[in-house]
Symmetry: C2
Subunit: 103 residues, 2 copies
């Protein structure tokens, strides 16, 4: 089982600026988080039911176990991630914790 932090981003006002900040500033900070196994970026291209998709991006941060995840969340690097997140996505992101299985 993998522990994931999953960030679900609403459609931004300016998609180009959003993805530029995500890729050039936010992702490099995320990758410094201690114990992080990998990041998977799911860029939403469509709503399967039609109409506009409510989200632009779902980012998954994978951790190998609960202890590593807990330590990562308490780290200075993670505080920097949180601070940057609030600079570009405040009120427009959900951050969820999940137990992931690939049955």
């Amino acid at each position: 089982m993998t522990i994931k932090l999953i960030a679900v981003y609403d459609q931004p006002d300016d998609a180009e600026a959003f993805f530029k900040h995500y890729e050039e500033v936010h992702a490099p900070l995320v990758k410094l988080t201690p114990g992080l196994q990998k990041v998977v970026l799911n860029r939403i291209t469509a709503d399967a039911f039609g109409g506009a998709a409510p989200y632009a991006l779902i980012a998954e941060m994978h951790y190998p176990d609960q202890a590593t995840f807990d330590a990562a969340m308490k780290s200075a690097e993670n505080r920097a991630v949180g601070k940057d997140l609030m600079s570009f996505a405040k009120g427009k992101v959900k951050v969820l914790i999940a137990e992931s299985i690939d049955p």
Copy 2:
């Protein structure tokens, strides 16, 4: 790049009944979809910002490429998945299409 169908489930009224139906009825139907590479189930355990998490489950259905995904969506097996989905999660699920990278 992987093409994913991502189903984001709101908190159900009855979590036990929801997960029982998902595991015993829905997941077996999903697994019959032609070309499906794998399913990853992310069971949401908490909201990182505190309070109640808005979602109970984020399910990822992975496909190796666009052509395989398109064929899967048109299949009779996928119609059965959609019909079952509406039987237990109508109005309580978002289904999104994503391009996923593991950079």
